[in-house]
């Protein structure tokens, strides 16, 4: 936008044509803005295609496989079948009511995209639609970020915000092509809801508030993170009330958004009546009631001219309102009508809660507290720009900037609690940083621009004039200022370019791996691909009976049902802790005890993931302690100390006898003792843990090896039928 080049020696004709161009500044600006936005839109999309280029067009990780499977079901069977789907292929023998226990937003979105494309005569495969849903919505998010930035600051900040969010690693990590997860559309919905709400507060328009309610509905249908909205918005309203920024605009915006949003959200079966029954949503209702009290008081104050009378009235009303609210809440909680906060919610407020009470939440790596390095990795320069942006926000405090400040600070706190919530903080961080960048650049360029006028005006005076010496002395401080501004501008652009480079690097190196296919560099720098997961799942799909039940740790449940097309005992939708604990117990028991458990669950095959040959560290042996903990949480016969030696977890000769003979150990290391994995090491050398295993002579009695993948990463065992008793 700094399109005003100075040309001190330009002749009059030149400057004239320049002026005539300048006449259309408005259109020029619009054109530049639209083309920048268009480029950002495309950039956001193509930056996320690294995963397709490096690997292939495939679904990533764990949950996306479930989403893909349900989307496939939706497109094949239609919406009603989908809504009423009882899935007997997971959680055997319990099954799962899929339609009532998922957020359908993502699947419906992908299916609508798919049907639209088919209607437009593009016969694409549903997989391609699913793979590209996340990049598509990331692109849309950039547009929302632009409008949001425009709403809270100006168009410049909007453009910068769009550009920053387009490539921010914190967002890319969850929205690369193939990462077909709820978050892919949810961040778009989240930002859209916030933007529309801020717009509604700024204008006091019912239409925007209605839009915001629909945005909220979409968010509720897409992701459980909607709880963040339903708590942040009331908190924001509360802050505005306290700081005396209450206005009719706020009243209209919040009431319309809350009531309509709540009613709409109740249409999602998985959410149901939680908005009026669950502790997490009570804050929003309290603020809603408070708002009515406030409005009422405002009206009374308007009617009463006597301030003293009003003061007493205020006291009585506020006390009684708080009392009534408190009693209602107390009665509701006591009678069980209002459910208390869930463990997940607690673990957000108190990071140590999950570790003590819910091992199943604590066992997930993305639920761990965030390390500083990952903040740096995901935000890069935004981490420094964020406080600067906050400064600018406070300097120009308005309803909108208060909102973005609150959004930024709360989400940053949550990002510190859980790694995966960095995603939620990303838009706020980008927006606030964009304000910093835009405001700085704007200040600097305006400094530069005023300077440019003087030499230009001096030149118009014509040649041969030496009178301008007095002028120079007049603006003596300016050259220094100008140089400083230029230096700062260069610095800003240098930082921004580093940011772009960092983002590209992170995207291509770290966030594009599908984690189903593992890639490594060989000794000669060539790329080695470990495709063992799919090898195993495909083997299951093709070479086991269609009604076979597979037991594995829950991490692989979704993948087995989606890729292996077989029934699993537990999967990633950890809804039944006892069932998972049963599997954990089976894995950590002796073989004959485990056999009884497996017989009782009709298990035909057992699948374990083993990285000892390749040095793949996130395998079942390394997850084993969690199985013990979760199993022990429900079945006290399983005791964690039995598997440890002096509080240490080991698999070599020094390991505890229980460890060396439990099912998981046997299945992972069956016949591994005969294998030489590394030159110069004894046979049975575990490369993932760097030790020689302790039990090399493993005999299986009730199970037999059915298949092991080429790099031994996945091992599948067949459960033998019981021997005849004669």
């Amino acid at each position: 936008m700094a399109g005003k080049q100075d040309s001190p020696n330009s002749d009059l004709l030149n400057s004239f044509s320049f002026k005539s161009l300048k006449l259309k500044t408005k259109q020029q600006e619009l054109l530049i803005r639209v083309s920048i936005l268009g480029l950002v839109y495309i950039l956001a999309f193509i930056a996320r295609l690294f995963s397709v280029l490096r690997y292939e067009s495939m679904i990533h990780e764990f949950d996306p496989y479930f989403n893909y499977r349900t989307t496939l079901f939706l497109t094949e069977k239609g919406f009603y079948e989908f809504w009423n789907w009882f899935d007997s292929e997971s959680w055997y023998p319990l099954g799962r009511i899929i339609g009532g226990t998922l957020y359908p937003g993502l699947m419906v979105t992908a299916a609508l995209l798919y049907w639209t494309l088919r209607f437009l005569r593009f016969f694409v495969h549903i997989r391609e639609v699913c793979v590209l849903t996340a990049p598509f919505f990331a692109s849309n998010t950039t547009i929302v970020a632009y409008f949001f930035g425009k709403e809270i600051w100006d168009t410049g900040a909007g453009l910068v915000a769009a550009a920053l969010i387009a490539i921010c690693p914190g967002y890319i990590s969850r929205s690369v092509a193939g990462s077909y997860d709820n978050e892919a559309v949810a961040i778009f919905a989240l930002l859209l809801t916030f933007y529309l709400f801020v717009k509604a507060v700024n204008t006091g328009s019912l239409a925007w508030a209605l839009g915001s309610a629909f945005g909220y509905f979409y968010m509720v249908s897409a992701w459980g993170g909607y709880v963040f909205i339903i708590n942040l918005v009331p908190l924001y309203v509360l802050v505005l009330l306290i700081t005396g920024r209450y206005s009719m605009r706020l009243y209209v915006a919040y009431n319309c958004m809350y009531i309509l949003g709540m009613l709409l959200a109740m249409q999602i079966r998985f959410v149901g009546f939680q908005h009026v029954q669950s502790g997490e949503h009570m804050g929003a209702m309290g603020v809603f009631l408070l708002m009515q009290v406030f409005y009422f008081l405002d009206w009374v104050k308007y009617q009463l001219n006597d301030t003293k009378l009003f003061q007493t009235f205020l006291k009585i009303t506020v006390t009684s309102a708080v009392l009534v609210g408190g009693i209602a809440l107390g009665v509701g909680t006591a009678s069980g009508y209002i459910s208390p906060w869930t463990g997940r919610f607690y673990s957000l407020l108190d990071p140590t809660y999950a570790k003590d009470h819910i091992p199943i939440i604590a066992s997930v790596s993305e639920h761990q507290p965030t390390a500083w390095s990952s903040f740096m990795f995901d935000y890069h320069i935004l981490l420094f720009l964020f406080p600067a942006g906050l400064y600018f926000c406070f300097k120009r405090l308005s309803d909108a900037t208060i909102f973005i400040v609150m959004y930024g600070l709360t989400s940053l706190y949550f990002a510190g609690v859980m790694v995966r919530l960095i995603l939620v903080a990303t838009p706020a961080v980008c927006l606030i940083s964009a304000i910093a960048v835009s405001a700085t650049v704007k200040n600097l360029t305006s400094l530069l621009r005023t300077k440019q006028k003087v030499p230009q005006a001096g030149s118009t005076k014509g040649a041969g004039s030496s009178k301008s010496s007095s002028k120079v002395s007049l603006d003596q401080s300016q050259p220094f200022q100008k140089n400083g501004a230029i230096a700062l501008l260069v610095g800003v652009f240098y930082l921004l370019s580093r940011y772009a480079i960092h983002c590209t690097w992170v995207t291509s190196e770290a966030y594009s791996s599908p984690s189903i296919v593992l890639a490594a560099r060989g000794a000669h720098g060539n790329r080695i691909i470990f495709d063992d997961y799919r090898e195993a799942y495909y083997w299951l799909r093709q070479n086991t009976p269609t009604d076979a039940k597979i037991m594995s740790w829950w991490d692989y449940g979704y993948q087995i049902t989606a890729m292996g097309n077989r029934t699993v005992i537990v999967d990633n939708n950890t809804w039944n802790n006892t069932h998972i604990a049963t599997v954990g117990r089976a894995m950590s028991s002796y073989e004959d005890e485990a056999y009884d458990i497996m017989r009782s669950l009709d298990v035909n095959y057992v699948l374990v993931v083993f990285g000892g040959v390749t040095g793949y560290s996130s395998d079942d042996i390394n997850k084993f302690l969690w199985m013990v903990r979760i199993g022990g949480g429900v079945y006290p016969v399983i005791k964690e100390p039995d598997y440890l030696v002096n509080g240490e977890f080991r698999v070599d000769k020094g390991a505890s006898p229980k460890m060396l003979n439990c099912l998981m150990y046997k299945l992972c290391y069956y016949r591994f003792g005969e294998l030489v994995t590394e030159y110069g090491k004894p046979s049975g050398y575990d490369r993932a843990r760097g030790v020689e295993i302790g039990n090399k002579d493993i005999k299986l009695e009730h199970l037999e090896e059915a298949y092991t993948t080429s790099n031994w990463i996945v091992r599948i065992y067949r459960v033998k039928p019981p021997t005849n008793r004669l």
Binding site: F16, K19, K453, A457, V517, Q542, R671, E674, T708
Partner: protein, 612 residues
Amino acid sequence: MKHSSVDLLLLLLTIAVLTSPVYSDLVLSKVERRIDVTSQIARVTKTLKVVNSGSESVSEFILTFPKFLGNNLAYLSVSHSEGKGKSKRSLVKLSVKAANLKGVPDSISVYSVALPKALTKGDTLTLEVVAAFTNVLQPFPEKISQRDIHLVMLQESAQYLSPYAVESQSLSIKLPNARIESYTNLDGTKLQGTELKYGPYKNLPQYSYSPIVVHFESKAAFAVAEKLVREIEVSHWGNVQVTEHYNIVHRGAQLKGEFSRLDFQGRPPSGVSAFRHLLARLPPRAHSIYYRDDIGNISTSQMQSDSKKTELLIEPRFPLFGGWRTFFTIGYGLPLRDFLFASEGKRFLNISFGSPMIDLVTEKLIVQVVLPEGSKDISVTTPFAVKQSQEIKYSHLDIAGRPVVVLEKNNVVPDHNQYIQVYYKFSNINLLSEPLMLISGFFVLFITCIIYTRADFSISKSSAIYLAKLHWDEVLATVQEVQNIIHKCLATHDKLESSLRDLSRTGDIQTCKAARKSTDSLLKDLSKELKPLLTFLQSSSSASQISPKVEELITKEKELQEKLMAKHTTVVEGYEKKSSGRDIENRIASQQQKIIALRQEIEDLLEFIDEI
């Protein structure tokens, strides 16, 4: 053993039919049979020398097989060699059809061959029969463990089963280069290397049958495609896209017990019954080859190509043991010019029918030839009988859909890899329809955008907001106009300045004065134009913020104008009085300073207004 009893029964039946009446006067003077069992397909080649010994002429020749072979007959071709001498033999194919003969028991399959010309008494004819049987190599034992070798069993007859008397016959069985477990030892049975020879037997009566069993190790891949769908899509943009979906199963002895990866990787005799690779021989210049399955790309495949062929070595995700199955898809593009030809106003696609995989048996083959949208008069010619039907397929940007010719055939062996021709009519105009659709789609999009931005879609034309917006637009337009005029004024000022400079250079006072006159009138006109605009701005309520600035701008401009005029007069006067340049400069110095300051102010104001 199930089959032995069947054989015994068969034998008894054969003996029973031996007594049945003589069917024909034909005599086979010499029969040579060669059975090749090096792959999973038993390929039988027979050379039959037929002599008509009767008096009637015969135009039909009967071929018989034991039923258990006949049921597995995948391919049968009978040809007779024309011309004398071995050097120039040209084979002519004869038509063969399954037949039913009275008096022949159910345990015998019968095929009748139409002879090229009726054989009269004493005539001889040499027939070459090629037959391919699937599923006749029975794995025995039926279940083996990973360490075991793969043993199969072949049942045949040492003597040629025929409704005609045979004067001399011999049989040779070509076995793979591996272990031979056992074979039926009859008179004159010889094992030479990998070749097992029976006979020659002389003067055999009709329906002679003497069962033999050979039990040997087979290292061949028993890969069977239970179902293979080949989709051949013709695009007149220069590509034939072939997509093949394979449902492969290993039909050898089933694996029992464990599969041990350790043994499979380490110790060579382990897992010999499994196959890891399949080789596809694609046509030359095949490109864009891919290999994937339901859950994604399979990265283990190698390709070699030269001008004659493209070889694709594909490795399924896992080795296939007996009874294991897998499904995958391969696809490749072929250049259109190699396969599409024109004849008699029609186009025809000349493409191979079967799978490009080496030694693959296909139980059910479905070939779908997808022709471009708008193809008409479709007909197919095939060298053998297939089931035909037509479908419609929708692909990108299709409206009417593409006609699909569906050809179905069961039990297909590599011998069926012959060319089929699909004839159709297609006009080149249709080629343009899809690009045109795209173009018109974008055109409509842009047109709607243009209409949307140009047209006024507000519902209430009298609402306050709407009116205010209209008014604001008007104000903006006026401000724009004011700006234009001011810029024009500034340009005129510049002209005046340049005239002064010319004066200092040339000293031509008259031109300078003329320039002054013209600028004077121009500036007057401009200021006249400005007046109504300014009054409009002052009158309008919404422009209350801008109008003072605009006013200021205009007054500043007036001032500048005056100063400039004054300067001009001074300079011109100075020149008229012939004052020195230095003197004039001194005199206008103060004016000059003011002019510059004013000019600066005006530009600032302009910029400020610009930013609104």
